[in-house]
Point group: C2
């Protein structure tokens, strides 16, 4: 998506360790008009999939997900992060994920009331890097017995294995900007 790539090149920065910083418009300060366009683009790409629910994870996925849900006219559910504790609460689907950014494990939890076996779920997130968050959300979809339609992310880091691993599993991954490289302050898109 040209609009997003141009914005990343203009306002994003590339830090040591392949970190793409976009906190001026995407995940701390947010540009609502841009994020609305991201939502429209995801809705366009998944228009024929009869999506019944958008699933994301707090916090930085929420804005993109709500715009996607607005355009698809379906509810949006965000998984909550809880300190890893094996809650064992049978009102929730839950799974443990590792955050490579923060170096900690946490649980993702979703109330069983809001996803069920009749749902066709579209997962939305801001970043796809190692694929930990996406894989955790997929496990929640599987626990619910729901159908996974695909995964839509704003920015994929192709130099980390998350996207390849998901595609190798036969899953549909739509990334609006795919960074092939982020080094020495330069970002190159494919």
């Amino acid at each position: 998506m040209q609009l997003l790539k141009e914005r990343i090149l203009k306002d994003g920065t590339c830090l040591a360790g392949g970190i793409i910083r976009v906190d001026s418009f995407l995940n701390h300060q947010m540009d609502p008009a841009l994020i609305h366009e991201l939502g429209k683009e995801f809705a366009r790409r998944f228009a024929n999939e009869s999506v019944t629910k958008v699933l994301t994870v707090e916090a930085s996925g929420i804005a993109i997900a709500i715009m996607t849900g607005l355009e698809l006219n379906v509810p949006v559910v965000f998984a909550k992060k809880a300190v890893s504790s094996n809650l064992g609460d049978d009102r929730f689907y839950s799974t443990t994920v590792h955050s490579f950014t923060k170096g900690v494990d946490c649980d993702l939890v979703v109330s069983k009331k809001y996803i069920n076996e009749n749902d066709k779920v579209l997962i939305i997130d801001d970043f796809l890097a190692m694929g930990e968050a996406a894989s955790g959300l997929i496990r929640l979809v599987n626990q619910a017995g729901a159908t996974l339609v695909g995964i839509g992310v704003a920015i994929e880091k192709a130099f980390q294995p998350g996207g390849s691993r998901l595609r190798e599993r036969g899953l549909r991954v739509e990334s609006l900007a795919i960074a092939e490289l982020c080094e020495d302050g330069n970002i190159i898109f494919n």
Copy 2:
């Protein structure tokens, strides 16, 4: 706002301790069309205030705030929650708040890059009860030397003191649904 009150009466529940549960449409599963309407209503109420920035706090404020920012055509910043640690990192405004719901303290942090003394800030959140989150966000606005335009919340619990305390300080508080009572499963709006 009649639309929101009717939705709360239809799909919300009132639990012991004055808890208004709206997680089927507002803060776990979210209805994007409804939340878009909330954003439009906040934009209407604050249309003449020359707002330059919407400020909220992760996670459940983000959806309402991004819709408000979309309608006002201004950036949205969400404060991040960090485990209370007196970070002392001078790149951030930070303040400690107490969560009465969770029984813990946490720090709210906002990068100094995204609010400054020229900003006219509208604070948006889903709930106003004890006023802890709103007061924390106000302290961040004050640290930045910015002007606070007002506070917009979807649901105010008038049986808890947050709203009164803010209004006593001369602040403009706009609540789209004000619950006067939440007892024995009944919610009464003013």
